[in-house]
Structures are given as C-alpha cells and as structure tokens.
Amino acid sequence: MTATQNPARAGAGAGETRTLTLIQAVTEAMREELARDERVVVFGEDVGARGGVFLATAGLQAEFGRARVFDTPLSEASIVGAAVGMAVRGMRPIAEIQFADYMGPGFDQLISQAAKIRYRSGGQFTAPMVIRTPSGGGVKGGHHHSQSPESYFAHTPGLKVVMPSTPYDAKGLLKAAVRGDDPVIYFEPKRLYRAAKGEVPTGDYTVEIGKGAVRREGRDLTLIGYGGVMPDAERAAAALAAEGVEAEVIDLRSLLPWDRELVLESVSRTGRAVLVSEAPRTANFMGEVAYVIQEELFDQLLSPVVQVAGFDIPYPYVQDKIYLPGPNRIAAACVQALNY
C-alpha cells in the first residue's frame, strides 16, 4: 500500500504502453468500451460531429455511428435523465455534461433518480451509468467554466465520485466506472487535459474506484489532493525535497468512496497532513478527510491538519491564477505544518 503505485505494476501487467495526454486517455477508454460492449453509448451536447467542446469524443461518432454516439438537446436534465432511463433498461450509458458548472440543471435527476433508484426500489432497478464532465479552473473561464462542484456529489449517498489526474488513471477509472453497477460522476480536470501526459497501456485494465495512489513517498508529511491540483502538489513536494523535506504525496482519485486506509496509514507515519483542493473552502469535501484524520490519529498528529483550498467566492475571471492553489501556496502550507 505504501509503495508508489507505478502504472505498470498496478494495472495492466507487462503490456505495451504509449504516451497519451489525459484527454486522449479519456477518448481511448470510451473507444475501447464502445468496441467491447454494445450496451455502451456516448451522448451529450455536441459530442457527435463536433467531438465535444474539448474534443474528448472526437472521432467516436465517425467510428461507431450515430446510434451509439450522438448529440442531445441542450438540457442537462434530459441528458442525465436519459442516462438513468437507459441504464434501468439494461444499457451502459456514458453521458457528457459539457462543463461541471452545468450540472445544476441536471441536479435533481442526479440526486433524486440516479442516486436513489437502487435504494428506493430495494435493488429491483439500478442505474449503472457514467456522467463525464470537465471541471476546475485555470483556463480563464470565469465562474461558469471553472467551478469544482464535486463536494455536492461526494455528499450524495448512492453516487460514486472520481477524478483522475493522470492519463493512466483517466483510462482505468473510466473503464471501471462503465463496468461498475453504480452511477459514477467522473470529473475531468480540464486544465490537465493536455498538460498531463503519461504512459498508458494499450491493453485493457481498470483502476479500482475507491482507491487512492501514492505519487511520491516521504516521511515528513502527507500531502493529499485530487484532480487538477495534483501536478502543483507534486511540484510543491519537489521544491520541499530540494530543501530536505520529504513529503508523501497521495492522489485520492476517488472521493466517494475515498481511500481512508491509504490516507490514515500514511499520516500515521508522517504525523502531518496537508489537504489540497481548489473547491471553495467552506464545507469542502476535504473537511471530511480532515475530520477523519484528526478523529483516527489524534495522538499521532504532530500538527493540525491544514487545508489549501479555493476561496469562498464565485470563481473569478481576472484572478484565475491567483485563485488556484499553486505550488508556492501548497509548499507554504507544508512549511506551516512542519513548523507548527
């Protein structure tokens, strides 16, 4: 558990790999799942001929036809609801919401239908489906193309919530989401779409939902994040290493459920935890992680758990970069924890 999870070891075995960007890995996962299982369809606003506004679905309609990859009317409630209804009837829909900021109009479908149909029916009806959506800031999108609403969904029993930060995880988590029997909200950190590159097995593999990954080993403190902040967390760790501080870096990958064992094991060794996310601070998902750490490791903690998070304001346009926790702010929080 404590070893850095190396893609080659963690997943697909000794197979071939290629360097892909995160968005290419997303596309590849969809392509392979479409090819593997006729029950899989891909739909959303502009995902067909246009290939999605970020081109995540580029080429898929040409390859699989309009019955399997198609545009929908401009309505997130229609999209989420259609996914629920298809899933109930035995399909495996992958639906795209163009920006996570636009989950709002589909919110009731997610919380009242997708999240609860298994429970309310006593397991008679289920909604195995995936909602993919680009989230997070750093692209000068202002508050309607930059938000990180994952905490809403992590607080909704019945949903699963994941957010990859590497191409390897992007492919593996998406496949796991498609094959699982629960509704999964799959957030794609849009500023890593092309910035995150990495080795991705050409073959089939999945990344288990609910498991985090250690990105870097360290003994002095544990730096925990997910999604778009991960590269900056790793940069912060590298900067600290240059000054002799060894931060262990954990990528949660899954928020609901999240990997408490991995986190607790690490913090029990390091005694210090810094939690990094870009969502507004108040009632942020990371409050949960902080709560559990202090509850379980009260006597082992050497300093308070520290959060680096977004500010409690609508995501601003001009101050796009200042808003985000960058490597300096993250490193400063680590130093604060170390100097406590």
């Binding site: 309505s75 409630a77 298809m86 109930v88 239908q113 008679q124 408490r260």
Partner: protein, 372 residues
C-alpha cells in the same frame, strides 16, 4: 378517426351512460363487467387504505378515487411485463389493474418485510420489477426524462416494447417534464406520455398552473401528437390508448394523451378537509356525477345487461376481504430490521457503510428477519 388536438375531449359514452359513437365490438358486456370489477376493486382498495391510515397503521395515502377510468383503461392498453412503465405516486389503481398484487402494494404502504422495495420509501411509492413498473420517486416529474431514456434504449435495442410515463397536471410545470418530453420528441423514441389531469395539484387549480388552455396542446412544443380524452369514460380511454400505443409501437414516435378526470378525494391525508380550504363541495359533486364506475353501470343497463346490486355488494365484500387478507399477510412478515438500511445504496457495500453499520450494530440490538 382518432384525431389529435381536438378541442373537446374524445368520448364514446356520455355522462349518463349512452354510447355517443358506435361502441367498438370488443366492448362486450363481459369486458365491461370485467372493467367495472377492476374499477370497483381499486375504489374499495382506496377506501380500505384510508381506513388503515386513520387507524395509524400507515402514514400516507393518496387516493385515486374518481380516476379509475383513466388508470384501469390505461392498464388494459399495455403489454404488462413487456412494456415499461414510469409511473407517479397516484398510480396504485394502474398497478392493481396491471396485475400487481394487493399484497405487493400493501406491503409497500406498510413497509413490511414483504415490501419489494424494502421499506425505503414513504407509503404509496411502490415498484415491481417483473411488471416493469419502475419504483416511484416523490420528486414530481422526475420520472419523465428517465422515461424518455428507457424508450431510447428500447429503440436502440430494437425491441417492440414501449415506455409509458404517467404524471399529473401539476407535473407539467416542472422543468424536468419539458426536458423529458423534448428529449423523447427529438429522439423519436417509443414513449407514451399520459397526463392524468385531475385539475388540481394539491390546492392549486390547473388555471393557476398554466395559462395554456389544455395540457395536450403542449405536445406541439415537442413535435408530437397530443390527444384529449374524457378520462372518466373508460371506453374512450381504451380506444384512444389502443390507437396511440399502436402508433408509438409502430415507430411513429412519442405521443401525449391528456385524460381529463378528477380526484374526488383529498390530495392525501394531509388535506382531508380540502373542501374547506380550496375547492367547493359543488365542484366535487359535479364531478361525482361523472363518475367512471357509474358510467359503466349505466352503459351496461343501456346494453340490457345491468349488474345486479347484490352482485356489487358481494364484489365489495370480497374485495374488502382481499384487502384485509393482504394487510394481515403483509403485517405478519414483520418490519425489516435496521441492518437493511445499509443495503442497496450501492451494488456492493463500501467500507464507510460497513463502518457505519458496525457502529449501529454496537448501538442496536440485532433484529431478526429481513426479506431473504
């Protein structure tokens, strides 16, 4: 012959039970008696459940009395267990007429171990997989987009199933209603939308709900035909449904049918004094005179095959025994234990739910039972 967008509701039998169009051959006295029996069964079920409610043995109930023509008529137009139904919370009469057992419905209302839905939802929100009758969500109109999705799946999979989606008049104001209707229209999926227009949404009259003159006219916004039918005339309901379901099944795309009816009872136990609050006794009396059950009785008289009043009394007594037996059998299975709370949240129980279950186990004495 059966046209969409009529200005008056399509009707076969007048309010006093006279055929005003030629009665289709299938409406033999035998069939009419069978329909009558089903409507009476549902009406009596309502009465018995209201009593159960008054006795405090269940906590919520929403009568469909007065709406039997619509719901029983609709049930007869489905291929039960083949077509899918995304119903709403006032559809127990539809469920009964589709052959869902009283035991299943009562069990859900009582939240006993025999509840197929395992006591998760408030009374009256049942669902039965083998009838493809999807479990009901309270959130008004939230069933409409999923219904479009199920129909899209049916089209994609190349089945000859259709999806039926029901809702009240009030539900048509919700954004999700629009989203589902438009999605169905745009996709051309085989979805039959049925508005059970009982003219009230709790205390809000249809006139306050929307400025559109009728509900069926709203179908124009989705490029689908909208039919307007007297929902208290079961012959009309069945004729129109037969025709429209046929169209939908034939791949001609979705359609909307508005059944004009009335709920003669209160919205639920919460407004038992409805007439003191928001509507007049006269209005209720007017609609009681258009009762779908009496209308069939009059029609049978007109056809020279009246039902013997004693027969009705025997029928009612038998139904009451049936309900009593269902209640007894359901209650005998007991209430599910607390452990069941943590099941069916996900396909597999994640660690955090195991921990929460362990926590509760330490607090609660173990309970016996739970449906196998």
């Amino acid at each position: 012959m059966i046209q969409p967008f009529t200005s008056d509701p399509l009707r076969w039998v007048s309010e006093d039970g006279q055929p005003i169009r030629e009665l289709p051959a299938r409406f033999t006295p035998e069939l009419l008696r069978e329909l009558h029996r089903q409507m009476v069964r549902a009406r009596e079920f309502d009465k018995k459940l209201v009593t159960l409610l008054r006795q405090g043995r269940t906590t919520f109930y929403a009568q469909a009395s007065g709406m039997e023509g619509t719901q029983v008529g609709l049930a007869r137009s489905l291929r039960v267990g083949h077509d899918w139904v995304w119903p709403y919370y006032r559809d127990h009469t539809l469920g009964l007429a589709m052959g869902i057992s009283m035991m299943d419905i009562v069990s859900q209302c009582l939240g006993t171990n025999s509840d197929l839905c395992r006591g998760r939802q408030m009374p009256h929100h049942f669902g039965v997989a083998d009838k493809r009758f999807v479990s009901i969500s309270s959130s008004i109109a939230s069933q409409v987009p999923p219904a479009a999705g199920t129909a899209m799946a049916q089209k994609y999979l190349g089945t000859d199933e259709i999806t039926v989606c029901t809702f009240g008049d009030g539900a048509t104001s919700e954004g999700d209603w629009h989203a589902g209707m438009n999605m169905a229209g745009a996709s051309g999926a085989p979805c039959l939308f049925v508005c059970e227009n009982n003219q009230w949404a709790i205390s809000t009259h249809l006139r306050e709900q929307t400025a559109s003159e009728t509900i069926h006219i709203k179908a124009k916004a989705y490029g689908m035909p909208g039919y307007y039918v007297d929902g208290n005339d079961i012959v009309a309901v069945m004729e129109v449904m037969e025709h429209v379901a046929g169209r939908v099944r034939a791949g001609e795309g979705p359609a909307l049918v508005e059944c004009l009816t009335y709920r003669v009872g209160s919205h639920s136990n919460a407004d038992a004094d409805a007439e003191k609050q928001y509507r007049t006794r006269e209005e209720v009396a007017e609609w009681e005179a258009r009762d779908p059950i009496t209308r069939v009785e009059r029609l049978l008289e007109h056809l020279g095959a009246p039902i013997d009043p004693q027969e009705i009394r025997d029928l009612v007594a038998a139904i009451h025994r049936e309900v009593d037996e269902a209640v007894r059998a359901a209650e005998a299975t007991g209430q599910p234990g607390w452990e069941i709370m943590f099941e069916d949240v996900y396909a597999d129980k994640p660690v955090h739910l195991e921990r929460q279950e362990d926590f509760l186990r330490a607090e609660q004495p173990a309970t016996v039972g739970g449906r196998a």
